[in-house]
Amino acid sequence: MLSWTCPAPLRDQPRVVMGHGGGGALSAELVEHIFAPAFGGEVLAQLGDAAAVTLGGTRLAFSTDSYVVRPLFFPGGSIGDLAVNGTVNDLAMSGARAAYLSCAFILEEGVEMPVVARVAEAIGAAARVAGVEVATGDTKVVEAGHGDGVYVNTAGIGLIPAGVDLRPQRVVPGDVVIVSGEIGAHGVAVMSVREGLEFGVDIESDCAALGGLVDAMLAVTPDLHVLRDPTRGGLAAALNEIAAAARVGVVIQERSVPVPPAVANACAILGLDPMYVANEGKLVAFVPREHADAVLAAMRAHPLGARARVIGAAVADHPGMVVARTGLGGTRVVDLPVGEQLPRIC
C-alpha cells in the first residue's frame, strides 16, 4: 500500500534531469530525499507552497520561487508577471495577503537592456495590481552562455488572518472540490510560442494574482480546508498532492473539469492531457460541504472565479489516489505526473 513514513530510496538518477524540476514525482523525490533531510526543521516539514510561521505572536506566510521560463514574454504575460503572481499566489494558498516581496535577478551577460527594463516594468505593474510592495532585491550576472537571459527569484511574506488554517491535513471525506476556472491556458500559451506551434486560435496565459479571490472566499467562511494553485504538473498534480497529504481519496467528474476548447484542441494535437498542463491564475479548493454553495457563489462573483465549478469530492475510498469518472461512465486513475509531459510521436 501507500508508503508515507518510509519512502522508497532515491531512484537511480546519477544526475539531475529535467523531470526533477517538473513539479511531479521526481521533484518530490529530490525534496524528500536530499533537501528536506539536509535542512531539517519543523516548518519545512510542512512542505507546503508557503511556510506558515509564527513570529512575535504574529502568524506569517513565507514563500519563495524561481522563474526560468522561456520565452521571457508570452501571450498574456511575461516572466515578470509570473515572478510576482507566482509568489503572491503561493502565499494566498495559505490564506495570506502578500505584503512584501524580494526580487533577485540572475542576468546573462549580453542581454539587451530594454529586455531587462521590460521585465522590471512588468514586475512593478504586477506588484501594483496584486497590492504588494517589492521591498528588497539583488542582481547577479553570469557569463554569456550560462543562462537563459533573465532568471528571477522572488520571495514574499504576508499575514495569515486569525481563524484561517489551510493545509491538506484538514481535508476530510465529503469535502467538495472546486476549481476556480478553466484550466490549461498558461501551459499551452507558453508552449505555443516556445515551440513555434500555432493552434489556429490565440491562447493567452491565465497569469493573475489570486489574493483578492481568496479574500472573497474567506469572507464567506474562514473554514476552507485547503487551497492549492495548480501550477507545474497542473490540476492532476495538485489533487494528487492533497490526496496524498490528507490521506483521502478524491473523485472527480471528468466532464465537469472546465477546459477551454482551444486548450483541449491543442492538447489533443500534442497528445497531452489538460489535467497535467500548468496554470498560473487558478486555484483548487477543498471546502466543507455545508459551505460549498456559498463559497462557489462568492467565487463566481469575483472576476477571477467567474467560471468556478464543482468538479468532485474527497472520499474515504482509495486514500492517496485521485480517480476520474469518465464521460462515458468508466473510471480511471489520475496519477501524479512522472516528469515533464512529452508530446507523442503520432
Partner: protein, 374 residues
C-alpha cells in the same frame, strides 16, 4: 472542439454500447492494433462498459514500444558523441536503453533536442553546418512519410550534415505474425486508422481471407472505438470476415498516394526486429540505396552494440496480446513509469503505461509504489 466532442458524446456512446450488447451471443477476442486506441480504451473505461463476452486484446501498435533495444542503444551512443545534435520526438527520450535513456545522455552533456517535426531537425542542421544532426526516425506507416520527406529534402538541398537513424515498421506483416503464432487467440482486428490514412486498405483483404478474420479500420476517439467493436462483433456473429472502413472521415481506400510515392522513393522494405517479439520478415523499412548516405548507422559506425533486456520484462508477450499488463509479475512493483523495465511502461502509447496510469486502482491495488509527498 466539436470535432472532439462529437466523438465523445455519452448519449451516442450509450446507443452503440446497447447495440453491441444486443448483438453479442458468445465470447469474442478482438485486437486493437494501435497503442493510441489502447489508451483511448483504458482512459475512457470503454473495456469496462463492453459486454463481458467481448475481450479487447492490446496489440503491438506502439512505435516507441517496438523499437528494438539495439536501436535505442545506438541512439544513445550517437547522441553521446561530441559534435552531434540528436533530435527526437519527445516520447523517445524516456525509453530505457541498456542502462540509461536519452534524458540521461542530455544530463551528461549530450545535445539531445525534442522536435515536433523531422523538418525541424533539418532546419537545425542548416543552422549548424559544423555539427552532425541526427533525427530518430521511428514509427509505423504514419510517421514514415514525413521522415522520408525530410531525407528527400536534405538530398535535394545538398545538406550533408543530416542523417536519419531509421527503425520504421509496417503493420500488415505484424498482423500476419500474430495470426501465425500457435498461441494466437485473436479473432478480429481493429486496424489502425492513422496507418490506413497513409497506406489505404489494400493490404488487408488478403489477410482477412487467409486467416478468416474480420478487419475493421478504426479511428481513435471513443465513438470510433465503439463503432469498430460493433462492426467487428456483427461480422463475427454472422460468420463473416470482410475488411470494413469505419473511419471514412480520414481513410480513403487508396490511402495517400503522394505519401506512398515518397515512401517508395526513399525507403525499401526489409526484415525488422520488433522489441520483445523478434524479427518479422518484410516488416520494416530502411533507406533505399540512393539515400544510404543519410543513414546514421553507416555514418556513425555503431555496429556491434551488445544489449541486455531486463529478464523480468514480459513486454513481448504484452505486445503480442498473450499477456495483460497487470498479469506481469513486475507490473506496478519493480516496473513503473518512473522505473520502467520496458518501453511498454514508458511510452505514451504503451499498454503497460495505460494500465498503470489509468487502471491500477482495479488491477494492482496491493502493489502501488510509494507515492511522493507534497
Amino acid at each position: 472542439m466539436k470535432y472532439i466532442d462529437e466523438f465523445q458524446d455519452p448519449e451516442l456512446a450509450r446507443r452503440l454500447l446497447d447495440s453491441i450488447h444486443a448483438a453479442v451471443t458468445r465470447p469474442w477476442a478482438l485486437m486493437e492494433v494501435c497503442g493510441g486506441q489502447t489508451h483511448t480504451i483504458i482512459r475512457h473505461g470503454i473495456d469496462q462498459l463492453l459486454p463481458d463476452e467481448v475481450e479487447l486484446i492490446h496489440g503491438p501498435g506502439c512505435p516507441v514500444c517496438v523499437t528494438p533495444l539495439e536501436v535505442i542503444d545506438k541512439a544513445l551512443e550517437i547522441a553521446s558523441r561530441p559534435g552531434v545534435i540528436f533530435c527526437s520526438f519527445g516520447d523517445m527520450l524516456r525509453v530505457p536503453g541498456t542502462g540509461r535513456d536519452l534524458f540521461g545522455v542530455r544530463s551528461e552533456g549530450g545535445d539531445v533536442r525534442v522536435v515536433y517535426s523531422p523538418l525541424d531537425a533539418l532546419r537545425i542542421a542548416r543552422q549548424n553546418p559544423d555539427r552532425q544532426v541526427v533525427f530518430f526516425g521511428i514509427g509505423f506507416e504514419t510517421t514514415a512519410p514525413p521522415n522520408a520527406m525530410t531525407v528527400y529534402q536534405a538530398r535535394r538541398l545538398g545538406i550533408r550534415n543530416f542523417s536519419l537513424l531509421v527503425s520504421h515498421v509496417r503493420v500488415p506483416p505484424a498482423i500476419e505474425a500474430i495470426m501465425r503464432s500457435p498461441a494466437c487467440r485473436v479473432q478480429a482486428f481493429l486496424a489502425a486508422g492513422h496507418v490506413c490514412s497513409v497506406m489505404g486498405t489494400g493490404e488487408y483483404p488478403a489477410l482477412a481471407e487467409r486467416y478468416r478474420v474480420p478487419i475493421v479500420v478504426t479511428g481513435f476517439e471513443p465513438l470510433d472505438i465503439l463503432e469498430g467493436v460493433r462492426r467487428t462483433v456483427l461480422q463475427l456473429e454472422r460468420g463473416e470476415h470482410a475488411v470494413e472502413n469505419a473511419y471514412r472521415r480520414a481513410v480513403l481506400d487508396e490511402g495517400n498516394p503522394a505519401a506512398r510515392a515518397m515512401l517508395d522513393d526513399v525507403f525499401e522494405v526489409t526484415d525488422r526486429a520488433w522489441r520483445g517479439i523478434g524479427v518479422i520478415p518484410d516488416s520494416g523499412w530502411q533507406l533505399s540505396a540512393r539515400y544510404r548516405d543519410f543513414d546514421a548507422e553507416h555514418r556513425f559506425s555503431v555496429a556491434g552494440i551488445t544489449t541486455l533486456e531486463p529478464a523480468a520484462c514480459r513486454a513481448g508477450e504484452v505486445l503480442q496480446g498473450l499477456l495483460k499488463p497487470h498479469e506481469c509479475e513486475a507490473f506496478g512493483s519493480v516496473c513503473t513509469p518512473r522505473t520502467p523495465l520496458g518501453a511498454t511502461m514508458v511510452s505514451s502509447e504503451g499498454a503497460c503505461a495505460a494500465y498503470y496510469l489509468y487502471r491500477r486502482l482495479d488491477v494492482a491495488a496491493p502493489r502501488l509504489e510509494a507515492s511522493p509527498v507534497v
